[in-house]
Symmetry: C2
Subunit: 724 residues, 2 copies
């Protein structure tokens, strides 16, 4: 391209252009509120007033496990389950330990366990309830997650009947608090490479657990520093001098009476952390510690008395991933808890932004409400849209999880879909929660920094969500792997001609299934005039096309670049992969964003009858919100769309204008949209979100109004006459 | 534009294209290391090996106040001045109060005060030393900032001889700890609108200080909750029933002996905060509290005994901004402290990333160092480049500050430049510090979340830097105001023809002065082939053009859109402004980024003789780093460059490839580049950055190597034969 002085880019030409586009956008948005009533035909009298039916929407957001959520929220509202800011490490740990006992008393934590041991076999409900505990104190959520969701779940999913009977009752009752000892100081994300060994001693019929070097100490384990009496320890299973890979073992670590480490077991306290200080994270190491053979959690791999290894899964790699796959619920619940935290953050910042006034913009006396400033809208409203998207996406994830774990739909494909979906959504929602908490904190200024307004505490606690239960970047790489394998399965030996044919074939079948790679026909669209193009952007199918096309193209490009890898040495193939690592992760992120968008869109258009009660006014508001989310994604990746010729510069400019105007349209509805999250003062517990700010503003304005009326307000100093 | 299936965008065509571009970039980078030696002509034998002269660069980074910085770092290395993690609120407050006394003993805090009262009249040195205290504990930095940089500085800069003599000695010695009572619960950024009044009572010759409503309580004040014996209180000065606007008053608030509030004074503790808990922030309110007339800090406005108001500055608006302008040092020092924190964060994350190994990518046994992964480079190295840019920019800001406050160059223009520069840089550096601390935390995984590795603590403390001493967005709006007024001064009644002529005239004079709007001729460049264009991108003048052009264009466009405002009602003008608020702030941000880029470039090319000792090898590395910063900015705003026809899609693609390759080139030098920051283990104090990780890795690798050699390593389970 030759760079010339282009008068269409002159300020004045651009300004007119913008005005034309802005007008087109406004009329398009007006039209969007004139959707035809469901039963009749559109006419001018059919104007639908955008209005949020808070009660209906609130119920809709509660989803399938509404009752469990409401019950857990009731628990979270109890002061004795809530965090007390400013406690010391020891006080906070003791409090949360005590709170776990309260959870047992209230029967809130056993849903996932089998009926045979007093549970309810309710996997989705279990996670739904667990997530809501984040409102009381994230330490409580995570500590109960450690006890029942990791330690207990490992016994449940990796153990067999014997272990369930022998260990689960005491785990469920909290008689035996335990640690989930997988991560080591030297190995976090790469679990397969851990150093701890469990070597079978045929003569004694025991496993010998051993930590061979400092890097193999178990680390960052909740319950390890103080409370843990036992642990599920992951170690390389060695028998007959063969390493069968990582397996899990049930290992007593402390004397239940004295609290002392058992012989051969040692450990350290991880000490103070950036958050979650109600949990006693620590390190463990083992010096030739002997445990009975039966303590191997042997669902996927067993060792006979004579030391013979057997497994129902022949491939060691597949066996490993199957075992790890049973622990997907950690990721599922972090996804949900992050969404809940983002909801609380926005409830606080939006309530405050709707009451707080600052600067007199358009009047001599009245100050403006923060949310009437465009910038404030831009900072918070797109995050509200993303939170809705993440919330609907989480409901899909939880449903999928429940289907797989209940056995209703647990084929290999289902399990793979579940794992991909969890690996895709957890990074996005955990980062989104952190960004939202931070933006909310800054949007509340100094008040946001006070512990009493909760944003800083929640942010500190949720910080680690981005790297635990799978580092976010590593998870996205897993997603990319799935996308690439979907791609290569389709195009194994395909040349470009085949690819093009495939694309055309796909045009007929746009149905989306599973969480793998989407495909969409490349439609040849004439984008015509500004007005036309503006309308098209807001069209759901245009958004779907833009988002899907990007994922598909990125995956295709990366796949092409990686294709030579099969002919290269291991080292050169790794280098080639590394050279494209950022692109790979970016493709996975794009895919995850698409999954969120699809979830939002299904929530709007869902055929499952769920949306049947949706009022037209609510539909208008939610559609704006979905459009803001979708176009916001396009805006975020605008350079890609321009570089790849998917959007003309003019249409690209319209995207930014569009998201701004959508925010302005949504602005009057934001308070309703956060009310629909359903968190009352007992959950939000932020003094700036109680109406106190409004009361202060009213008091101040009344004071000045009265003084003006009484003539007691001192006159302002006269401005000096302007000199010439 | 018509959207057609363009085969040049097909995966295979794109892949070849990328390869061509990548090759061109690599040879361009090779060429960049063959710069001619300073004295001779380039030849093939003149290859300069990229290599960082750590000692020289370290000295260079220390800047003008190197000795003061080194002295303050020595203090910061003392354990008794350092933070103890996990202290309670009360313990931490008491510790920091005690540390302030140690600072007095060490004579570190009086540099800015006049020689007449025992100070050194050294403004730049004072700030330089103050900034380095962030290494010991940000609470110590900010609490001493409250005492001497705000409370004391207000007496110094807003008071006159009487106040200096009467109050400064006890402030300097810490005999009188004090609060800086400007912000109110109801008014933060909009200081002019505070509610507290100071009404002159002629009969008594006293001011009556009063808080008329809850929103007018002073809030978030360091030293107010516990330690403060006095305060500088900002209030609306009322005399003879005229409000002369905000002035500052010296007000005793507590009995020095009992610590009780004086009659009429009340307050509250702000309690626990997200960070900086070594500071006792609190609230104050006044019920008809009487102070002597002479306690008005009367440098810019005075009240005679008979109640007559007088001021050397006629315009109330200008007077207000002049008073506030004297307090710019808060912003200057936050800028510097943020840069220091980013340096520490990168020292930790890069040291760890250089030692930590995870996943065997290209070999069966050896794991890769994290920083050899492209993604890890992408996460940290651009942040290193930005930190260098921010560091050089801060040195310019501090120099400007010293010139103005020493009186060496304190014209109105100088002061305005200083304020604009501070308002531009402080938002960027404070946000950058938070982003860098967070990225570093995540890059260190679970270890990053432990308090012992410092990242979480620093992040928690620095969080508030983004909104105090001026909310970052409000500051950027101030910058935009300056840019718009520069623009309108130039083009007051200009039509587009004049504008074009102006642009051409400017071509001859590209010298950059001050911190206001830049202009640059729009050169008509032929961007030719990929290879050529790739070379051009890395050229400093091309970067300058791209960055400057963007600022100028954005400001011009916004100015054009706002032009009708002068003919509108106040309300409509405010609405028009609000409609473009995001653009306005974005233009200011672009300008601030340009200022950072210019500072980096001047540090490389500076004519001041400063760079004379720079080795060619160091210059190569720093030039790569500057290019990474510059092209990183272009990449960040790529959509703008594409939409506005400044970059073709092909060149735009080259930008991303370029920054990736630059990161890879810089990667071998990153450890040297953080070593040059000059922070020793006594400053970094993170257990993962001590070499401990390397020792663990070595121990683990030695263990496996020895076991393999001895034949004692269990064999891996055989993979099952592949089924067909």
């Amino acid at each position: 391209m030759t760079h010339t002085v282009d008068t269409t880019n002159s300020p004045s030409a651009r300004r007119e252009d913008d005005a034309v586009q802005a007008d087109a956008i406004e009329s398009e948005l007006d039209a969007s509120a004139r959707i035809p009533k469901r039963s009749g035909r559109a006419s001018t009298s059919d104007v639908v007033v955008a209005r949020t039916d808070v009660e209906w929407l609130g119920q809709y957001l509660l989803g399938t496990w509404a009752d469990v959520r409401l019950g857990a929220r009731e628990l979270s509202a109890r002061p004795d389950l809530q965090r007390i800011d400013g406690q010391t490490l020891d006080e906070h740990r003791a409090r949360v330990s005590g709170q776990l006992k309260l959870l047992v008393e209230h029967g809130q934590v056993h849903r996932a366990f089998p009926e045979s041991v007093g549970g309810a076999d309710d996997h989705g409900g279990n996670i739904a309830g667990f997530e809501e505990l984040v409102l009381a104190d994230p330490s409580l959520q995570i500590k109960s997650g450690v006890q029942w969701g990791l330690f207990g779940a490992a016994v449940l999913h990796l153990g067999t009947e014997y272990h369930h009977k022998a260990f689960l009752p005491a785990i469920m009752s909290l008689e035996v608090p335990g640690a989930f000892a997988m991560t080591e100081t030297g190995h976090g994300s790469d679990v397969a490479a851990i150093g701890t060994t469990a070597t079978y001693d045929e003569s004694a019929g025991e496993f010998v657990l051993h930590t061979p070097f400092r890097g193999a100490w178990k680390d960052y384990l909740g319950n390890a520093a103080v409370d843990g009496i036992a642990a599920v320890v992951f170690a390389q299973l060695v028998t007959k001098n063969v390493n069968h890979g990582v397996h899990a073992f049930y290992v007593p670590i402390r004397d239940a009476v004295t609290g002392e480490f058992l012989p051969g077991v040692g450990g350290e306290d991880d000490g103070l952390k950036g958050g979650l200080n109600g949990i006693d994270n620590g390190r463990l190491h083992f010096d030739q510690v002997r445990i009975p053979r039966l303590n191997l959690l042997n669902r996927y791999g067993d060792v006979a008395e004579d030391g013979t290894y057997s497994s129902s899964i022949e491939s060691p790699g597949r066996r490993f991933f199957t075992m790890l796959g049973t622990l997907v619920q950690g990721r599922v619940s972090l996804d949900g808890a992050s969404v809940a935290a983002a909801k609380v953050a926005l409830t606080i910042a939006i309530t405050y932004g709707n009451e707080r006034r600052q600067f007199t913009a358009g009047s001599d006396t009245d100050e403006e409400v923060l949310l009437d400033y465009q910038l404030h809208q831009k900072r918070l409203i797109p995050k509200l849209a993303t939170t809705y998207a993440a919330s609907f996406a989480h409901e899909q994830l939880l449903t999928k999880f429940d289907e797989v774990f209940s056995g209703r739909a647990d084929s290999d494909d289902d399990r793979q879909d579940l794992e991909t979906l969890a690996a895709a959504l957890k990074p996005l929602s955990t980062w989104h929660a952190l960004e939202t908490l931070q933006e909310a904190r800054e949007a509340c200024g100094g008040a946001g920094f006070l512990a009493e307004n909760r944003l800083v505490g929640l942010r500190a606690d949720l910080d680690i969500y981005a790297t635990f239960e799978g580092d976010n970047h590593v998870l996205l790489q897993l997603v990319a792997k799935r996308l690439l394998s979907d791609y290569s399965r389709r195009f194994a030996k395909a040349d470009f001609g085949v690819l093009a044919r495939y694309v055309v074939e796909q045009a007929a079948d746009k149905t989306v299934n599973g969480s793998g790679l989407r495909s969409l026909a490349q439609t040849v669209a004439d984008f015509g005039s500004t007005a036309r193009s503006v309308g098209q952007l807001r069209d759901a199918s245009a958004q779907r096309q833009l988002l899907t096309d990007r994922v598909e193209t990125m995956v295709g490009e990366v796949a092409a670049k990686l294709r030579p890898a099969s002919k290269l040495s291991q080292k050169d193939a790794a280098d080639l992969f590394n050279l494209h690592q950022s692109e790979i992760i970016e493709a996975a992120r794009a895919h995850a964003e698409l999954l969120q968008w699809e979830a939002f869109t299904e929530a709007l258009e869902g055929s499952a009858g769920l949306t049947s009660g949706m009022h037209d006014g609510t539909r208008v508001v939610l559609t704006w919100l979905r459009d803001l989310f979708g176009l916001g994604l396009v805006e975020k990746h605008l350079a890609w769309y321009l570089m790849n010729g998917r959007l003309s510069p003019k249409r690209a400019q319209a995207v930014g204008l569009y998201t701004e105007r959508l925010s302005a349209r949504i602005r009057p509805h934001v308070q309703d949209l956060v009310r629909a999250f359903g968190y009352g003062p007992e959950h939000v517990r932020a003094s700036i979100a109680t109406g106190a700010e409004k009361a202060r503003q009213t008091e101040a304005r009344d004071y000045y109004r009265a003084a003006r009326a009484a003539g007691t307000l001192p006159a302002p100093e006269k401005k000096p006459a302007r000199k010439r």
